[in-house]
């Protein structure tokens, strides 16, 4: 089993994602207009002992991958936790070209299966598994040769499949990620209790699930009480995100809440400066490890 770190570093700040303020989002996007500026913050996190980078498959992450690959001695323990797909490009492609057109745009055209795609045969035979695997491979290309212990399905896709009832696709993702990349599958969701039910039905045991977990109940579908119950009683490896609800909750108060919950072994957070990274690390250290209510579910 992959041992999840206590803290993971997220990438929302790099791409101007802020759920509370457009101005703040834009200021962050400006602050990180160069790859160098992102790398400097990642290095600060690395120096603070936060070596796991949970990132989208945005094309600019590809530049960070290049840098880490080119400097193996500088970051010997750097870990990427890719979250795929970067949804915006797929959404636009589907609207422009329809689902089949979009698939053709993103799927590789070379190789035996590529030829089938090109000829429309894979699409015509409704080979969801083959197409899904090729899409995963296309997204993973930028991480070649890098350490990717956990690979996540973004919430847009996880929750779309969950809503549609296409649970089988969640299993296809897990199996391919394990087989091809020797990585653990992870799922990001805004609908934690419902997703846990689906994963349990699929027989995916002790899954890694990243969900919004915060004192404000922000983006916690099913309600804060249902989340707290799931966290306390269900067997899975939670990673808390949106712990500060995009800044709606002050850092100490936010982390006190999350660290007071049992079983939450990992927290993903974003920051734009070394001082903020250090403060968060220090706060989490001071608050201590979570109370373990179900030993088998929490990483060592």
């Amino acid at each position: 089993m992959t041992i999840l770190p206590r803290l993971l570093f997220g990438d929302n700040q790099f791409f101007g994602v802020n759920h509370m303020s457009e101005e703040r989002a834009r200021a962050q996007a400006m602050r990180f207009s160069t790859t160098r500026s992102m790398i400097e913050v990642l290095e600060a996190a690395y120096d603070e002992g936060i070596k796991a980078f949970m990132c989208t498959t945005h094309e600019r992450i590809g530049e960070i991958c290049h840098h880490v690959r080119d400097h193996p001695r500088q970051y010997p323990d750097f870990q990427f936790y890719p979250c795929m797909p970067y949804g915006v490009k797929y959404a636009n492609a589907v609207t422009d070209d329809g689902i089949i057109g979009a698939l053709k745009r993103f799927l590789p055209q070379e190789g035996a299966f590529g030829a089938l795609v090109k000829g429309g045969l894979a699409v015509a035979t409704r080979d969801v598994q083959g197409i899904g695997e090729l899409l995963i491979d296309a997204e993973m290309k930028m991480f070649q040769g890098l350490n990717t212990p956990v690979i996540f399905l973004q919430n847009l896709v996880t929750d779309l499949l969950l809503g549609l009832g296409m649970h089988e696709a969640l299993r296809i993702f897990a199996e391919h990620v394990r087989r091809r990349y020797h990585a653990e599958p992870g799922y990001i969701t805004m609908n934690l209790p419902r997703l846990l039910d689906a994963l349990e039905t699929l027989g995916l045991e002790n899954p890694i699930v990243c969900a919004s977990i915060n004192k404000a109940g922000f983006r916690m579908c099913g309600g804060i009480a249902a989340y707290e119950k799931a966290i306390a009683t269900r067997r899975f490896q939670p990673i808390a995100m949106s712990v500060m609800a995009s800044g709606a909750i002050a850092p100490r108060e936010a982390l006190e809440y999350v660290c007071a919950q049992p079983n939450i072994g990992s927290i993903v957070f974003g920051a734009s400066s070394r001082a903020n990274i250090r403060d968060t690390r220090q706060l989490v250290e001071d608050l201590g490890r979570p109370r373990v209510q179900r030993e088998e579910a929490v990483p060592a």
Binding site: F15, G16, V17, N18, H19, M20, S21, E22, A25, A29, V88, A91, N92, V94, T95, D96, D97, G98, I99, I100, V123, A124, R126, V128, L156, D159, L160, L162, G163, L164, G165, M166, E168, A169, M190, N191, R194, A216, G217, F218, R219, M220, C221, G222, G223, A245, S246, A248
Partner: protein, 358 residues
Amino acid sequence: MTIRVAVVGLGKMGLSHLAIINTHPDVRLVAVCDSASYVTDVLSRYTGLKAYTDYRRLLEEVHPDAVLVATPPGTHAAIAQAALERNIHVYCEKPLCTDPAESRRLARLAQAKGLVNQVGYHYRFVAAFQEAKRLLDAGVLGPIHHFRAEAYGPVVVRPSSATWRTSRAAGGGCLYDYACHAIDMVHYLVGRPEGVAGTVLNRMFSQEAEDGVYATLLYGGGKTGQLAANWSDDSFRKMALKVTVWGANGRIYADRQEVQLYLRKSVPEARGLVPGWNVRYTTALTPPVWFYLRGEEYSAQIDHFIQCVKRGKPDTLCTFRAGAEVDEVAAMLVNNAQGAPLSAPLPSREPVPLSSTL
């Protein structure tokens, strides 16, 4: 009471609606329809859903209580009419129709039959805009003299192949895709204009539609507004709708994330507001939803439609009538851009009062 729902059109919006409606506790999804059999085949194989490629057959054979229509705009009129004629409640994506006469006809038909009708202007369900509406309705700004409604985002940022989305005739283009959201928000917050002037429909990349829409909206009593929409602005990560309204007592700004209110002096109409800046964030304003896919507002608008169907309440928060009003202003803008110096509604137009729920 369980509502039997079908979804017609499985592109980006249709799949999104399908995932949301499928999880709704009061709904049983009974069938889907898309002209692309690939999508329907995969869905029915993995979910057991009954799938059609012909919406008329679906309506005849399944006869759902309600239908969600998310096909390209050019096909809305025929599908919505077929459903209404069979006494089926209709939720339809925006714009309702590209021809306002068709939109009005649908609005009349839905009203005559007492059927629930809703158009997918989801920004009406964004908590920050609802808060702006509440404050404006309470009169905190006093008389309004000007507003600016803007919509920017990265849809067409390079010359691309021709699809329905880049053809105005098929219901694509920045006017129908982006500007209509801004127009509807203007109607929701400050009411519909009496005329439009100085309309520019700009092209940057698209061959058969505009990439930018700029106009002045005119009201009686000297109130004016400016409209700016540009779907070729990739400095925005995704579509951003923002509205600023100036009144005698200050100004209000709203976008999806926050409401910023500047008051010259405190007002008895709204307690708790101070002179100067008052800021509220969507994180605090947004009520929870039962299922989240891509924004609470998408779930909230579907739930609103279902609750209206359950209660037999045809007046939704965004009726076909409201949709027709947006289509009328869109037509006025096209007319004005094509040379009419000042475009007012056509004289033959029948009066369309604002819905009582607006």
